[in-house]
Symmetry: D2
Subunit: 244 residues, 4 copies
């Protein structure tokens, strides 16, 4: 397999991950200024792309047209871009492309489990905890998690979490995301963490995800490299690869 | 619906739970010395049985033969007893019976999630924490959880959790249950708690279940009351009712 | 020792605690309608009072005048009442009276530790978690904890916790108590819990207190019974008894 | 101030920390092959030494003799070495030297709090969690923490934690360190973490320390730089600097 964007921080972590995996072989590392046909020369089957929204579209077009499966972590894919990718794939039905906004398996699983558990508990709240340099509160992941929980509860006809608060100091009860309370902690020393708390009579269930360093996407990328050749066409998000 | 064993601690908690549920009506409370046909007189559809292994079999036979759906939390059901129940049900194909060893939804979900997550992480360990009067270590739930995790990992071809320990004070690394390390904490003030910790490069996922009082079975029993009439035949464990 | 208010829920728990303690003997249980001189007849040395603000003052006056040490958990003591008690004690300099708003040793220690740790960390936030029937958010304990932390940081010249949030969904970052962010979670199944999180470069320190049932005051009351006879005069709060 | 061993990983982190501190100025960075009198030329007052046991003694001798205060994180100080340092300091009574095995303030505070809380709870256990490449179990810090707790309990006449375990799978209840149970978790993704759990009737207190990256010693070193000039003579460990 090959890596596009191999000399960036993320690319380097992926290259190190591939080297450490017994079943994968890294045959080509390409970065800007390098020619894409290095992948052809090296006989790569799958190419990982962590580059930049400005360059990812021509790269990806070339990869698909030349028959490479692609695992893409570059951001910036909106509906229009996804349609374009589908167009290219229509002409190459044997090629698989995976485009995912989040490769951290633990993060994806915790969202999935939260969604599954949502309708069985009277109460649910989300606490996300990050380093103090983060600009947005709540985090995008917490927003998405709360949205999934809210949708699952609505579908099952479960009402809002009970709450008798009648006297609140402004902000104490957190933000309201589709009816789910979300609390954002900002603390020096932390990286990226999230807890989903469910409660019902006499018991609670907590699903906690901790990102402790910035290489937590590597196992998900390797999973993508292994599974994408088996999934022709476009796959969005790593969830379908988990076979849950 | 009706309750058999209605004056025991568990039975009282169930009766209170039913009274609090808007969609269920408690029409008959029966305990030893009371006649079972109180259920007939009251027009019950479903009967909950939390009695004693010594009396549950004739009770259950009567309930099935008289066309009541049954939700059974009484313990002591081995393979032989389950076969007997199936026999009674063969003659009453429209009746549903649910027999479950654990009605705490949070406990059941956390086992299920642990099983699903097991193959995606390099490492997994279990910590269970209980009050200090508990006789066995690890707890039965921790044993079962570790077994499910080990089986899921074996099926997926995942090896043992990495461990470079070369110098161990006896017992520090916990008990080995099918290759999964299990740690048992006993602490005054606790009730029944369990954490399953998964880890891979740069991230961890923790699934924690806390039983804070002894009525945590009530929501699962109510779920059984609602769903069992829709499931003719024998159901063992509440997992199938969760539609995960 | 004796108990005043012995037939209330709290009083019963205290009586049970004393019975279980090898070094203490319960000689008199008094409730409304009983005469106070039962304590004299029984030869009590210390009397515990968990009664009602309406009756505690005459009770306590009688106890002091008759030479009993007193451990008081009844609420409603303002500055004026405390002055009155001091007046009675002036005439009985050998008598000790302990009046405390919170007898849970873990709660008191966690506040103390939070106060001590406050000036060593860049960041601090408080999360308190309670059952959903609670009317006020944040809890009184969280308010007091945040206040103690803020005062300790100000005294040491430590500034506010760093926070780059520029885009906040209203309430996400919690309530501001003297510059310390406090988050209030309300969840079915919970009792009363609090976490104080401190963070600095590369490390965090968390002090967590869990009240799992409503008898957590008992060990603190017993400590009061043992120590108050050694502390003539008025003691407010159990902190001084902890000899930290 | 100056740094000795400035080009090592630790030294670089300290230099970065000093540069970021408004009240400290970094005037000299020295490593092997550089002459020590760079500190004199630069007018340093305090010198931080994170070098190697083989070279620290002559370095430190030179620093004391030339009137520099020293903050030393280099390991390998036994009783004999400490006596030698005291000898040098006898001739330079105005000089302060701090030698500490652990500069992580959170770790030191959590040990201190654990020691203070130890005698107030019926039960105590320690869980330490580390990356799976660690050779020893329990960790040195957990050993030391358990020892401090055990000593505090013995001094206060508190017996062992209650434990009714009669049926144990070998290792489940952890290692026994001076009568305190210690559990060692090894998990990919983790760095270095420790929880001390205390429990008594109806409540628990948990003191948790998380090291999330390897620069958590920096704030403690800066504290040493600020405080050591005010403490002539030898100080061992940062505890005395915390003024608890």
């Amino acid at each position: 397999m090959g890596v596009l964007g191999a000399r960036g921080k993320v690319g380097q972590a992926i290259c190190a991950g591939v080297e450490a995996a017994a079943d994968l072989e890294l045959v080509a590392q390409v970065d800007k200024d390098d020619a894409l046909d290095a992948f052809t020369a090296a006989g790569a089957e799958v190419v990982v792309d962590f580059t930049h929204p400005d360059v990812v579209m021509p790269n990806l077009k070339w990869l698909v047209e030349n028959g490479f499966h692609a695992v893409v972590g570059t951001t910036g894919f909106d509906a229009e871009r996804l349609e374009q990718v589908k167009g290219w794939l229509a002409a190459k039905p044997e090629v698989g492309v995976l485009i995912a906004p989040n490769f951290a398996i633990g993060a994806v699983l915790s969202m999935r489990f939260a969604e599954q558990a949502a309708r069985f508990f009277d109460s649910v709240e989300v606490i996300e905890l990050h380093h103090p340099n983060k600009a947005d509160a709540p985090s995008g992941t917490a927003f998405r998690t709360a949205g999934l929980i809210a949708a699952a509860r609505e579908k099952a006809g479960v009402g809002r979490s009970p709450d008798a608060t009648s006297q609140e100091l402004e902000g104490a009860r957190g933000a309201d995301v589709d009816g789910v309370r979300v609390h954002s902690v900002r603390l020096a020393g932390l990286v990226a963490h999230q807890e989903v708390l469910f409660g019902t009579q006499g018991e609670t269930l907590t699903i906690r995800h901790d990102s402790l360093d910035r290489t937590s996407f590597v196992p998900g990328v390797l999973l993508g490299v292994r599974k994408t050749p088996l999934r022709p066409g476009l796959t969005v998000g790593i969830d379908p690869l988990l076979d849950l």
